[in-house]
Symmetry: D2
Subunit: 339 residues, 4 copies
């Protein structure tokens, strides 16, 4: 912890800071500058919060020196971690594409979707059985039956399955249907109860970034999961809220560069939810790979114009096929491969 005193801080105010540091079992280092006195707390600064100092008279501000996240931090664990999903190694040299419709609708729709994914080189099948919607009057997903349909078509094509868990009370159902990767959506990134529960299981978790989460908050949300014992975490960037209205969210590819430096865990990108429009997805998908993403999560649909949900952002079979070819060439150029 570094504590910066105000310009006119008095000796007894400096002493009060020192006393507080010592009371917590740390030692201090006082540097009297020409305009400011700066005090460093030497020892494990996590025992107190900067707030505890900021309130003391004569203190201008207090800031941590050490990152608050530990298990997910690359500083502590320099080598890349790989998350295993039914024989797939996510976070290794191969880039993985997770694809499927935003919502499971019918067995036929999922059968066609699963075939699309498999045929064109996707490695995991996604489908939402429970949908987080802004409006209570919008389609909320087909429910448990959707998990059953998803499981059946995923197994038929030999693809691991991915689905979003909205409610902690449904975790047992997800385990029962043996969902291979549990997705925590953007709106739930700081749903602490949910994070703690998925921290207790040993299924891989995709943790989407909240709509306006800082990277540090995102890493801390992952730390909640990791602290429970589950280190199989995949980060997924999906765009953040912005003032621009020509797309749904602003895809933050700078975040990929930072996250790959800050954490040893895999980082993937969902360009579909960022764009909100299918015509924008190929450009963003390619950019995401070039920025260093370990995988992509893509909205596809056998017939987007008749999708029950988010059809505007789903790639149709032809668009998906073409994009997968381009991604494959791109992966090679980047020294990786499309798994």
């Amino acid at each position: 912890m570094i504590i910066v005193m105000t310009r006119y801080a008095q000796d007894e105010q400096i002493q009060a800071v020192v006393d507080k540091i010592r009371a917590a079992g740390l030692s201090e280092h006082v540097s009297r500058g020409t305009e400011r006195t700066i005090i460093g707390a030497v020892g494990d600064e996590r025992v107190f919060s900067p707030d505890a100092f900021a309130l003391l008279p004569g203190v201008e501000r207090a800031m941590r020196v050490v990152r608050e996240y530990r298990i997910v931090s690359r500083e502590v664990h320099p080598a890349d971690s790989v998350v295993q999903v039914r024989g797939l190694s996510i976070g290794g040299p191969a880039i993985h594409v997770i694809a499927g419709p935003a919502a499971v609708e019918t067995p036929e729709q999922m059968a066609l979707s699963a075939q699309m994914v498999r045929q064109h080189g996707g490695k995991l099948l996604r489908g939402g059985a429970f949908k987080p919607r802004t409006s209570p009057y919008a389609f909320q997903g087909v429910g448990v039956e959707g998990l059953e349909i998803l499981q059946q078509e995923a197994r038929r094509q030999g693809l691991p399955m991915v689905s979003e868990l909205l409610d902690v009370r449904l975790l047992d159902t997800f385990l029962e249907y043996d969902v291979d990767v549990i997705e925590i959506g953007a709106r739930n990134m700081q749903n602490v109860g949910l994070l703690k529960e998925v921290g207790r299981i040993n299924k891989p978790v995709i943790l989407k970034r909240g709509p306006s989460s800082s990277l540090s908050e995102w890493l801390m949300a992952a730390e909640y999961i990791a602290a429970g014992g589950n280190h199989n975490i995949i980060f997924c960037e999906r765009g953040v809220r912005s003032f621009e209205t020509s797309y749904r969210n602003m895809l933050d590819l700078s975040a990929i560069a930072v996250m790959k430096r800050e954490t040893h865990l895999p980082v993937i990108v969902d360009p579909s939810h960022a764009a909100g429009k299918a015509w924008m997805v190929p450009a963003l998908a390619k950019a995401a790979l070039a920025a260093g993403a370990d995988g992509l999560m893509l909205d596809i649909h056998p017939d987007p114009a008749n999708a029950w949900c988010d059809g505007e952002q789903a790639l149709n079979p032809g668009e998906f096929a073409l994009l997968m070819q381009q991604l494959s060439a791109l992966a090679t150029t980047l020294g990786r491969s499309l798994a």
Copy 2:
């Protein structure tokens, strides 16, 4: 729904839009302009989403004309609604101050806090038993015991009690301890499972605005609660995420003006979480009243420097007493009163 065609849209593309409108049982109104053809769908536009049209060839964009929220909308219910809490009428002419510490710590701290609130004119006592924290290593609240302490001191001072519900599995416990007003925090504004559950009870709910929620999303979140049958909803603005770092969140008082026009339900303001710093709270609290807020939620603490959580933003007894005097005079000038 209004559908704007692209400049060079062809007749069969226009016809396809018309067919889709008719297929849903609505009728169309086609306006051929000099540069664009515009098609209006006449009837209940809620049967389809703009997406359904945006995907059709020749369509530039499609937009709703009618608001998606209904029950909470002032358009449908022009008169102000008042939420009753143990004899208090929130949303009427009187302005209510809810105050208390961010976290329940000990019986002594809550006894002092409850006295502070009562003595200086606060009307409801708040205290967090379960705390949503960014870090898994930070203090998470004292838990159920906190509800017991809160209840005891609230009852002793004759103040209704307010506490944040983080997890749907704790709702029964909240009902058991007879929490008078259930707070849904900013991080849970779109936790659909939680919204639906508090929609099924008949306790008043404070719904905080999400850290980057649009006003329309906030109203839709309330509509989730209202659609379940619980219309006792109080909106609470607490600042939104911004690029500025000298305070925690940017308090959006323009939102008060818009919300008071869009909804008949009460709207209050939490200046403490917006500011993150106690010295800023009085200015923001007064501004909130002047902007038209129906109440305030304030962080106070008998001894902020030793608070277990968020001490930097808590008013101490002297600061709280002074602010309450100022607010009272201000309320009178504004043609209201401090309840």
Copy 3:
């Protein structure tokens, strides 16, 4: 300057930082913690930028300790400064209302506007002769003739005049027409050439905050003016860009609290440009006073529906009259007065 080394920084890397500090004539203070070594540079840290250190091997980050603004800083000049405009003292106990139409249109419109301002207690008359517009096809202002009309009507009513200077080449014209207060608009907040020029004259300057400027950038922009010798600066908050679409800009009243603490200069608020809609202006104007603003800048028009520019945000005579009464009562309650 504080330089935080990475966890595994080596001794020679620490030494390189120390050498760089000494080379600039400062001395260092090295604090070796359990997880990080922190180095403080003692002396005038303004001789180098944090960049110079951030690039050195083994450095995690470098940050300034001292604010970069000096002349405008309250730290250096604790007492409030008052800006004199033709006998008015802006920044003193009295609150001043500057009002007028967004654009000067005709002598008749300005005559009516100036009467409105004077009659209802406004103290300065504003009017734009040159308008910054997003579109090159929109009305750009009537030009120099507008200054003549503005001057004539302002003098007739005995009101000081305020007008926006868009282009450095027009400064002489503004001085010729003796514009009493020169407004630098939000789009020009970092137009360094313009800032430097108005720094060389001795006319009061209203410096609007840029659409997404941090408070620190805003203070630095003022420092450009002040560094040239002109200390007659009035800050004007007018809302910042946000994701919310129900108003034009998000009015940042937290900024008022921070600015009044950081600078000794007056701070006023323009609620009209923030709102973009006249019905929202009274709530925001009152909130601004309650937050501590030293004045307001209001869009008014004798006939908003026929205004040539920004009519939607202009108060009509009745709305303005009513608001001024409310503001007067409010000012008194706040311990100030409406000048």
Copy 4:
């Protein structure tokens, strides 16, 4: 223009809107729906602003149907435009890299920089002679002498030169030194005087996006230049302001996809100013190409640790050489080439 009436709008209110439309020489199209009446204005809607209607009683909102930008719009000019710079075709199949130091320092530094650019495949040399700085106490550029140095080294290596014009009064000087491409920086994107002046010359202009400009505002700023007769405009995305602090600006690559669809003019990306840190630049540069950029503007320096300005974001010779190799391979995979 589409005018949406409020739910309870009366017939005479609808008639007033119709009258206003007819008074401007357009005709109307009235569609009475179940919940709203919608009125379309048929004809050139640019004759009035939505404001003119929004103010009328009974009107809920009014919105344009047609884009306000024309000359720069792909709708009007479907084929890609190519900007010629001394024989280079920017916006064609080849991707161009503009590189150089943020600031011109000395003849030696520029000689080394120009060699670096030429040797590794950069096609244009940039260097700032006048620097827009947040602080008046920071290095402001070497001034006119910098243009001379830049010109000399650019000519020696046969590279066209690019430099930022901050002040309209320096335009003649830029023409005198025959600066090949004039850069308008982010802070000046809406400096209307400057835009109009560069609209009158026939030099190519790089127009950077403002720090929080919407894409529509950016296109309108270009329209100012184009309306003056200069159609040689190159857009340059450089990141927007955000809440995230681990990089300088949030690079908006979604903007590339939208801009390439909305305008026929070339779009390039400056990853260096977005990142603010050299280690992040290669990932962002590659992502920009993959997203469809027509070129890049890169900060390089022969010795970043001793740069006078922005050294933290400059690539050193080794980093630049490696990146250029990667970009070349990437361009080929994308079906383009590095010019």
